[in-house]
Symmetry: C2
Subunit: 428 residues, 2 copies
């Protein structure tokens, strides 16, 4: 089945695509000896001096741990304010994708979008109502819900406005965080919405539902009943612990793979309806404007997409040699089946390795080795999902959608690497 290590290694040393891309299994086949050690700063190891921190007892425990003070740059960055006059109000804050690895986003760095601040909800007083076109309207305390059977799934959440800067005529200066950081992934645990709707008894006339948050914007979205009965969840937990206030404490709707704000935070009400409610949050906003005054109003799924996070703008490649290209791929339609990477702006492509587990509607980490010879390069990645869909080039997306669109930008994005090693966002 598998070729011998030596034979395979020989094959793997052939380029996988132009401008230095190597086979994704290069390092697994003993390829490393050809160059990585030279990178590693020192081939000769002197005995290490005993540092100061080994000479004295360290710090004591704490009930709830925090990141290192040396990592203070790894925050959610500047807040994108919609109106600088607000003391609170709508805004967003983005995940620093360029500093992270793996598929899970730690809870303290999950992106946030809110429409009128983070409400301070007492879980003892909070209620969830299910009403409208149901046989038996129900109201739940959080303790009631905690007795229900739970399910868990690892799922990404992405704002529909993520990567919106790629609609602009000129490539914005920016980083993976500022351009694409309205994207995170966590393990969510809660109660199947289908189970709660079964309890309430769905009236056959119901085809949609309205989900409403308890924030001061009463953020509300319509969700097709079919989606609600498929894989939607009413979540209490994020990455093991109760969801934090900024991400919906004590209760959040999860509609895997759909526009971020349909995963309604601070969930207080689900009303079953005969059609979409046409709320402010799905009419004045979050509709995809197309050419000729048309709108793809109820396009909910986030299509396949990939982003290279390392290297990305903000990185400086200090010397030639081996690098790993690492990034994230995902699809609101299912599983990632393939990520291809180019180092020459799309002329030649090589397939990246996908890190297990590859899960439906979850972020998937991809990686591929790259030998940078110091020449200019343009790095791109493109994702294919298990429906067979491949994300489009930017010019193809713009041609299809015109210049009025603001949401659902899943075009291939490009990082240029200059001969000096500087990495920048470009259109290519």
């Amino acid at each position: 089945m598998k070729k011998s290590g030596k034979a395979e290694a020989a094959d793997l040393h052939e380029p996988a695509a132009a401008n230095g891309l190597l086979h994704r299994r290069f390092f697994l086949a003993g390829g490393a000896g050809v160059g990585l050690a030279a990178l590693s700063g020192a081939a000769k190891a002197e005995p290490l001096a005993v540092p100061e921190w080994t000479r004295k007892p360290g710090a004591w425990f704490s009930a709830y741990g925090q990141p290192s003070k040396y990592e203070s740059k790894v925050g959610r960055g500047a807040i994108v304010e919609h109106n600088p006059l607000y003391e609170s109000g709508p805004g967003s804050i983005r995940t620093p994708l360029q500093f992270l690895e793996g598929m899970i986003t730690p809870n303290g760095l999950h992106f946030e979008r809110s429409h009128n601040g983070i409400p301070d909800i007492d879980p003892e007083q909070h209620r969830l109502v299910i009403h409208g076109l149901v046989k038996r309207p129900l109201v739940f305390t959080m303790d009631d819900l905690a007795r229900y059977p739970m399910t868990s799934r690892i799922s990404f959440v992405e704002c529909a406005g993520n990567s919106g800067a790629l609609y602009a005529k000129d490539a914005a200066a920016g980083t993976a965080q500022t351009l694409h950081g309205l994207l995170s992934c966590a393990e969510w645990t809660g109660v199947s919405l289908a189970l709660l709707l079964d309890e309430a008894g769905v009236d056959p006339k119901a085809t949609w539902l309205l989900a409403e948050g308890a924030d001061a914007a009463s953020m509300s979205r319509s969700v097709p009943l079919a989606k609600a009965m498929d894989d939607a969840m009413v979540c209490l937990y994020q990455n093991g612990e109760r969801i934090r206030p900024s991400n919906g404490y004590p209760l959040r709707l999860l509609v895997p793979g759909y526009q971020g704000n349909m995963n309604v935070k601070w969930l207080r009400r689900i009303k079953l309806t005969a059609g979409p409610t046409m709320t402010k949050d799905e009419t004045s906003k979050y509709s995809l404007l197309l050419n000729e005054g048309k709108s793809a109003q109820f396009k909910f799924q986030l299509d396949a997409k990939a982003i290279i996070t390392r290297p990305s703008p903000g990185y400086l490649l200090k010397q030639q040699g081996f690098y790993e290209i690492s990034g994230l791929a995902w699809s609101g339609n299912g599983k990632v089946t393939k990520v291809e990477v180019t180092a020459d702006g799309g002329k030649t492509w090589a397939q990246a390795a996908l890190s297990d587990p590859v899960l439906s509607k979850a972020l998937t980490r991809f990686r591929i080795p790259w030998h940078w010879t110091g020449q200019a390069a343009v790095l791109q990645a493109r994702c294919t999902d298990d429906t067979g869909y491949t994300q489009p080039a930017r010019d193809v997306l713009i041609a299809a959608r015109g210049n009025r669109a603001a949401y659902h930008n899943n075009a291939i994005s490009s990082w240029s690497v200059a001969t000096g090693g500087e990495v920048k966002h470009v259109y290519a």
Copy 2:
């Protein structure tokens, strides 16, 4: 292939084991209507009043998020001190398993064991040396390592001393946290140790390695070379972000499925050796004492085990009716294949549902529905892994190991539920 929903539901309403255990797919087959709504406090939903927090804009964003103030009870609890005279020194702090759900432990709640406090390591100054029986000793800065190819895996870490209280003659009062909380699970990302050892060139005489931490205890363990070349990793990231100081910043060894402290934190040195080094941390401690003065010194793998986390001591079942039994199962030998649950102290068992993804050497969430009729019950879970191994009853384990053992207790543990609903740790 699959029976129709109705036919299946009919079967699923049959008990799966005595004392109220229901089929693990009960809720998936429309079984809920028979009783869950009655639990839920109110069948009639009045329009909700608009609460105070919806009437005014909420709080603004923060660069690094924190849990809700209403969840302050969810901490790592009392520190287990080894000597109350120390201001720092050895100790441990445990994950509050009874308050968590899913498989991931958030970084702030990952258990900690340290032997002389948490060192304050400057990553710019920290180095990793690989030396001893290698062709080419190497020293790495953290920036060097960050250029190497990475891998990710979701893995549990469990202290060898976890559940040690179950060796005591009488059942200790305790919770899932205090009895079993030296156990956590995270997504770890870093460099394959095999890749680094290949770079250094392993001398054929090498069969073990010594891994040493930069803490003030210079905590050190010997690891068989075969394990190092199999799946060990030198980790930089935990759940997406850089590992926190308390869990090994900036560098931690991961030896999936092996005793917790072999996953050496603050890793500074790997020395390849012709045999085990017999450090203080593997001779005076962390050896499993057996009968007749013998010791299973180099038993590293943590065998299959399951713990019920909900309900567990500290919970009070306030009324009869439906509950979900939820817990964690894992094995240092591979994947969990089966978790069985009993509500009658082991006379009859039913199979629990396992939450996807079920990963090798990772925590696996299991769940099973239970109809509590208000009678006394004894809840237990037992895990079987993909080697065919099933965790033993406590009396079987004690009979095999005698009364001097302190580590590797993977006996089945028992929670009694009294007629008043109080849950307690018992031997059964």
